[in-house]
Subunit: 234 residues, 2 copies
DNA sequence: GCAAAAGTGTTTGGATTACACCCATGC
DNA sequence: GCATGGGTGTAATCCAAACACTTTTGC
């Protein structure tokens, strides 16, 4: 390059890149975020989003998968890029730009374990997030907005719900995310076009009429989208 | 930090961060993208998106403003973060992660000028983008999708249109972006709730009945949004 | 039987669609 | 007058909201 920079070209290779992975799950009808307690400086002892430095030869998506796997042992989970945060002073030890990704997981399938950089792990309802290390509160807020937005035009809600769910669980998820109350009959009319697999199974251990169980029909959905016969919309 | 990395902590500070700024404008009813012809290696002579390395003490948004200003002399333009691209091999000279931003400008107010890193500058219709340097084709496609998405729930179309526009210009913009044909009467009913300033002025130099000119009423829009009386939706 | 939630049908009003028609200007 | 696009009204239809009602289970 022959660009006339104020500083030498080589000096530009003095950044570090980290990746924060926001893992969302659904518990008791609330969207929860997986948090870690930092076991290292800076912000040792503070709660934070799990994140790590990206290896020099590592793709961003691979780093996100790695962090997700380390905490949850889950593989083959869809990861979505959120936003990149790069304020020059966001990290006290140097210029660390961080790229945020998020994943939606079925919380029952996760047994989160503390790892090298965390001595404690917990799920926290998204509306009860405490004060976090770095600019992580900003990252959480921005990413949750992006998640909510995506919930309305991509069928990612089914990544949060158990494999077999009731229509009411689906309704409650949207009521929670969009902070509205929905009418049951109208909600069911609205979702009539979503490709579901209707099981011959019902809820158990409820003290009222058990609800029918459904799954999202990914195969049918894919076909419908390919033929432009359907777009998911909530 | 006491994290047990495969490589030393200091070695992680060997990235470079660049920022690519996609500048969109509207010309002859088509969305155009401002492109530069690279005057430096690598990819010297190829067309590319204007971008630059981010200075070590510079915020991402500031870098985006700087690049936009260098090319267009425009200030105080809204910049939107698109996505970050970080494939390890995307830049032949090292690990350069690039963060894409986009800006929507009124094309009449821009006199794009070639700068140190570009010896030629031109507007190219978004559907006629040639093969570009680096992974810039991917960046353009992803960013245009994000732009289209944003057009449907934020009033950013008015950043592309001239200050005073006709309702048909607005309609054509949406027809172009969403690749649909809309009915004139129905379109006007749909936009009735948008806060417009209706001018006592008309189009000139047209050989048919001149259309009335409108502006978007930013002040009224802001008030409506604050009072939750309105959300933009197309 | 009662409580609690599952599940469905009906009515209504507002939005969307298709279509038809009139208006203002340049030539 | 005619071509061209600006601008508007109407009727049919679809969709979403409000509400009422029946069903199934546990206790």
């Amino acid at each position: 390059m022959n660009h006339n920079y104020r500083i030498e070209f080589e000096k530009f290779f003095s950044y570090s890149l980290s990746l924060d992975c926001l893992i969302f799950g659904l518990r008791n009808g609330e969207i929860n975020l997986l948090m870690i307690k930092r076991d290292m400086d800076p912000y040792k002892g503070d709660w934070a989003i799990p994140g790590d430095l990206v290896y020099p030869e590592e793709d961003l998506m691979d780093a996100a998968s790695r962090i997700l796997f380390d905490l949850t042992s889950l593989k083959n989970i869809d990861l979505h890029q959120s936003q990149t945060f790069g304020k020059p002073d966001r990290h006290p030890q140097g210029r660390v730009v961080t790229c945020a990704y998020f994943a939606l997981v079925k919380i029952d399938e996760v047994n989160a374990v503390a790892s090298s950089w965390a001595n404690e792990v917990k799920w926290v309802p998204i509306h009860e997030i405490p004060s976090l290390a770095f600019d992580h509160n900003l990252i959480v807020e921005s990413t949750f907005e992006i998640l909510k937005n995506k919930l309305s035009y991509e069928p990612i809600c089914f990544d949060l719900l158990p494999n077999k769910f009731t229509l009411n669980e689906l309704q409650q998820l949207y009521e929670y995310a969009f902070n509205v109350e929905l009418n049951k009959a109208n909600f069911r009319k609205k979702i009539k076009s979503i490709p579901f697999i209707e099981h011959n199974e019902k809820q158990t251990n409820v003290k009222h009429r058990p609800a029918k169980l459904f799954s999202f029909d990914y195969g049918k959905y894919k076909k419908l989208v390919e033929n432009k016969d359907y777009t998911f919309k909530m």
